[in-house]
């Protein structure tokens, strides 16, 4: 017998009990009946409990252009720096591949995530990553695996090869434009090419499609100990935005405001959240436009984080 057969045989007589009913009982929870039913409720709670608790809000005067192009991997200041390594890490584990900025479609426009993507060619890696689902379940992508074949800089534009010649929606095009400009670090327009023919373009970045409030850090699922620095950008006219940290029981455990720098266009915000004293577990960090009338929908972004 070879090792495969011996191991197979060694447990061939193991017939586990049927535990499905027990599993159903353990996973049945009314709180999970709907995906994030408290999404807006969390934002509303902020207004009611405006007192900031243990928060250091700092003004970030980062030198940057109005658009998204100068962000991402080219600006280390915008990369998560205090993230703890993943739990599975091992001393002999290989280094993680670089973080690339990828734009996804969410309620109210485009949102940016950072994803670890393997590959030597950041433009190609980025378009292939666009075909993968985002980490944050609130977002989605307009592109399916196989839709985008290649991306490269040709004659002063970014050329993206598509697999078919179907129409490309404005938002799907902007996903590609913002993602590739961010990875290139330059606001070069994008042309969509199918079999040598120009399908669409050149397309420039349209600032109107960016969600007015967005979180760059933390990324979905990041783990923190002690404190967390959150960063993002906003185009709202107010000088500050609101944020909350909500625990699994939907209780607001921290909240406050983050000051927005007074540049024009998409402006950075940053806040350091003190996590000391919080029970280890999963929390949701939310930023919201300070708009008590809630006349503008979707001026919100959320991230799930883990406090160790």
């Amino acid at each position: 017998m070879n090792l495969h057969d011996l191991l197979e045989d060694a447990v061939a007589d193991v017939e586990p009990a049927d535990r499905l009913a027990e599993l159903r009982a353990r996973t049945a929870s009314p709180a999970r009946a709907a995906a994030r039913p408290w999404w807006w409720a969390a934002g509303a709670t902020v207004v009611g409990t405006a007192a900031a608790v243990a928060v250091v809000a700092t003004l970030q005067h980062t030198q940057e252009s109005a658009g998204p192009a100068g962000h991402g991997m080219h600006h280390p200041g915008f990369l998560p720096s205090e993230i703890l390594p993943p739990r599975v890490s091992d001393p002999d584990a290989e280094a993680l591949p670089p973080l690339l900025p990828i734009y996804y479609v969410g309620e109210g426009g485009l949102y940016r995530e950072f994803a670890h993507v393997r590959g030597n060619d950041s433009l190609l890696s980025a378009v292939l990553q666009l075909e993968q689902p985002p980490a944050d379940p609130d977002y989605a992508t307009a592109w399916a695996p196989g839709d985008l074949l290649d991306a490269s800089v040709q004659h002063g534009t970014i050329e993206v090869e598509t697999a078919d010649d179907g129409p490309i929606s404005a938002l799907a095009a902007q996903q590609v434009v913002y993602t590739l400009q961010a990875n290139l670090g330059s606001r070069v327009p994008v042309r969509f090419i199918h079999e040598g023919e120009v399908l669409l373009g050149p397309v420039d970045a349209d600032p109107a499609v960016l969600n007015p409030v967005s979180i760059s850090d933390p990324a979905e699922g990041n783990e923190y100990e002690g404190s967390m620095t959150a960063r993002g950008r906003t185009s709202v006219p107010e000088r500050h935005i609101l944020w909350t940290l909500v625990d699994a029981d939907e209780t607001v455990v921290r909240d406050g405001t983050a000051v927005v720098s007074d540049d024009a266009g998409m402006r950075p915000w940053e806040v350091t959240v003190d996590l000391a004293g919080l029970e280890p577990g999963t929390y949701v960090f939310t930023v919201t436009r300070d708009d008590p009338g809630f006349t503008v929908t979707a001026s919100t972004d959320t991230r799930t984080i883990v406090v160790r």
Partner: protein, 178 residues
Amino acid sequence: MTTVTDRPAWTADEALEQLYAAHWRRLVRLSVLLVRDQGVAEEVVQDAFVAVHGRWDRLRDPERALAYLRQAVVNRSRSALRHRAVVARHAERRTASLVEPGADQAALVTDRRAAVLDGLRALPQRQREVLALRYYLDLSEAEIADTLGISRGAVKSHASRGAATLRTHLGTLLEEEL
């Protein structure tokens, strides 16, 4: 290409049922190879299923969910082994089973199975995990590396050392035509 990708076809509850139907037995058996105790293995795998249910919003894909399940089962088996109770209970059971070494075919099969589990048990933890993932689940080196969070080179060296030690331990069993 122009429509926004839909949400997962399965809800977390549906995913749980499907994953359970497809993988419950095999994952319990994997855990038995790691912890030896079936009761503990069932607890370990059940916890892993609860965890995957809770993360379904993020996993959303059966393949990713299975990869997560494998990882959870290996990690939780490792934690379970740290409980001395498991080791103690196992030692008692072994002593009991060795009292009557029967000579019929059934007893030989039982001995062979016990020898394999003992051989695995005697290995360093990483080697045992790599062998179970490689020879029982038939995972590739890359998949094992991902599951254990170690490099492919480490997988290779754990696999070759573990297999060599296990072969020595099992000796004639590997040569028998059964």
